[in-house]
């Protein structure tokens, strides 16, 4: 069975001044899968993500999202593509001047012609999905770090985008909230066929949700494959990353 590629990155390269950040990055992400981008700090994960989101101009290589070459898009096409992408930023990036409800409603108000009451119902529902119903009238400054993240996820999925990008969604969340977030991500993937591209370091989360692993090291793709293949990988860095599972097992056996 041929799987649909939602993202195709070929020979992506990037430099900041004299510093080479990405060398020759190539990988693919498939429809209805959770693709995790991994790697140690400074390996270029965020740079790759920003190229995928069209926030950095592509100087070398090609990036295709939903079959469209990002570098060749007109402004209108780029906007249409943005409507098919949900983005979850690490720090939430909610607009501080708006309530949480208004933040989540913003894409619905701007890009649909739905009646206000229906928009409100959708917003309640989205906030309910992330257990934040009571934050509707609150301002982002009144929320804790974990709540901010969940509110940001609600906004990212407001339009049921086919592709969801997540930048470290689990960082700073307690294990219980993280588990419920993972469950939601699995539901989004299975029920809506959402393709999720995620940068994360949470091993427990990766084990629960990942279909595919892209491991970056020093601006190169060190490993690309399924979660199972990653766990069995003989690449030292990849092996070391997942060795924390063995450590946990050892502690349990003590």
């Amino acid at each position: 069975m041929t799987r649909n590629k939602v993202i195709e990155v070929e020979n992506l390269g990037a430099s900041f001044g004299d510093t080479r950040v990405l060398n020759d990055v190539s990988f693919s992400a498939y429809q209805g899968e959770v693709t995790i981008i991994l790697g140690s700090s400074g390996c270029g994960k965020s740079t790759v993500l920003k190229h995928l989101l069209g926030l950095y101009p592509i100087m070398q290589g090609t990036v295709k999202i939903l079959g469209q070459n990002v570098a060749e898009l007109t402004e209108k096409e780029q906007l249409e593509l943005y409507l098919k992408m949900g983005v979850f930023y690490q720090n939430g990036a909610l607009l501080n001047s708006m309530t949480v409800g208004e933040n989540v409603a913003l894409p619905l108000v701007q890009h649909t012609h739905l009646p206000d009451h229906l928009i409100n119902d959708i917003v309640y529902m989205k906030l309910g999905l992330v257990n934040l119903e009571n934050a509707f009238y609150k301002y982002p400054s009144e929320l804790s770090g974990g709540m901010l993240k969940r509110a940001a996820l609600a906004r990212a999925i407001a339009l049921d985008p086919p592709v969801l990008f997540c930048d470290e969604p689990g960082a700073g969340l307690d294990p219980i909230s993280l588990e419920s977030l993972d469950r939601l991500i699995i539901n989004l993937k299975e029920l809506l066929g959402m393709s999720i591209i995620m940068v994360t370091h949470e091993v427990s989360s990766i084990l629960r949700i990942a279909n595919r692993i892209i491991y970056l090291s020093k601006g190169n793709v060190l490993f690309e494959g399924t979660l199972k293949e990653a766990l069995a990988s003989t690449e030292e860095e990849v092996h070391q990353f997942f060795s924390v599972i063995d450590d946990a097992d050892k502690v349990k056996q003590k």
């Binding site: 739905l114 959708i122 119903e133």
Partner: protein, 377 residues
């Protein structure tokens, strides 16, 4: 559509027509975000006008639904329930039923509306908040700052080495050019505007009295105060606010360092030291501006101007300028710090704090100028 019919069709869009048979509406195709606006609007209208009181939405032939679609069917159910029309859902493949279960809005608690407050309560709360938060907060900060300013005067260890000089450069030295230039221009214009009237009365030489007294006791300190409030008041507020949102102030506190002593006191010392010099420079520049206008429009030579100056200048003008500079220095640093410490909501808060600090500092400088003007009259 007529109620007595047992089988008819509801057209939602050109390519979306649903069959309604014996109160059962068979939804087909896809019900996603793109379609729900028209779907919900038309469906409510059609079902309201039908005259029937019970419906069943059948999902057996529905291919796909998303979260907006699920919300829409529950929205229609809710809207029609208010008209006494009941809707029941049935059928659908596993994916549809799971989606309905996951996205069903009614399983989530509707958030409680924020409590409504009447006008009197609002006014009362605002007045109470103003006094407790602004007046009391400002006075508390002022008390702390003045206490530490005196207590730490001979304890340089309580602040970063060289910080007072550093702040003196930032607050004072870097303001010299703008203060001198603006004072010169204002002195020039002041003398220019007055020269016509003085010439009419043959009182040309009094331009010297006017310029010197106005610049030394009033305009010099005021121009300096306003410019430093705009320049340094904002930068003090922005610096402290940024330190607060990036938790630097918390870090200082948990390291056992008082943020007021470490951050505010050096700025206060620097302002108290540099503002009198800025006032003197402003006064001199303004007088030079006045002398320029006097020379060109009233034929008063610099020699005459300087000789007359000696008769006009009194210690009182110097003392007035000095006292004003000290008061302005305190007001500017206190206002900047007050708004900096009060910041909330991240980067947006920093911008608001900075703007508020500038507006309030300039206003306070002008109010203080009026009060001191009356006291030293």
């Amino acid at each position: 559509m007529k109620a007595e019919d047992t089988r008819y069709y509801i057209a939602i869009e050109k390519d979306t027509i649903y069959l309604l048979e014996n109160q059962t509406l068979y939804l087909t195709g896809t019900l996603t975000l793109r379609r729900v606006s028209v779907f919900s609007r038309k469906m409510i209208k059609e079902l309201k006008s039908s005259g029937l009181k019970n419906y069943i939405f059948n999902f057996d032939k529905l291919e796909s639904i998303d979260s907006a679609g699920v919300t829409a069917i529950f929205y229609i159910q809710k809207q029609l329930a208010q008209q006494g029309i009941k809707i029941r859902f049935e059928g659908g493949n596993e994916s549809i039923t799971r989606k309905i279960e996951l996205f069903r809005p009614e399983k989530f608690e509707e958030p409680a509306l924020p409590e409504k407050v009447n006008l009197f309560e609002k006014v009362g709360n605002s007045v109470s908040y103003f006094f407790s938060s602004y007046v009391f907060g400002f006075l508390t900060l002022a008390a702390n700052v003045f206490y530490f300013a005196v207590a730490d005067f001979f304890r340089p260890k309580m602040r970063k080495a060289g910080e007072v000089s550093n702040q003196a450069v930032l607050i004072g030295v870097n303001s010299v050019l703008i203060v001198v230039f603006m004072s010169y221009v204002i002195g020039l214009v002041l003398a220019l505007q007055s020269s016509g009237q003085l010439r009419n009365f043959g009182a040309n030489v009094f331009i010297v009295d006017l310029t010197v007294i106005a610049m030394m006791s009033q305009m010099g300190p005021l121009i300096t105060g306003i410019l430093v409030a705009g320049r340094s008041g904002s930068s003090i507020a922005a610096e402290i606010a940024t330190m607060k949102v990036t938790s630097e102030l918390d870090a200082l506190q948990t390291m056992g360092l008082n943020p007021i002593r470490f951050v505010v006191i050096p700025k206060l010392y620097a302002s108290l030291i540099t503002l009198p010099f800025l006032v003197i420079l402003a006064s001199v520049a303004g007088i030079v501006g006045g002398a320029t206008a006097a020379y060109f429009y009233l034929d008063i030579t610099p020699e005459v101007f300087i000789n007359r100056m000696g008769n006009v200048m009194r210690n009182k003008e110097l003392i007035t300028g000095f006292v004003k500079s000290q008061v302005y220095a305190c007001l500017i640093v206190l206002t900047g710090s007050f708004y900096g410490f009060r910041v909330v909501r991240g980067a947006e808060g920093v911008g608001k704090a900075t703007t508020a600090a500038v507006v309030v500092a300039i206003s306070l400088v002008i109010i203080a100028d009026s009060i001191l003007g009356l006291l030293f009259y």
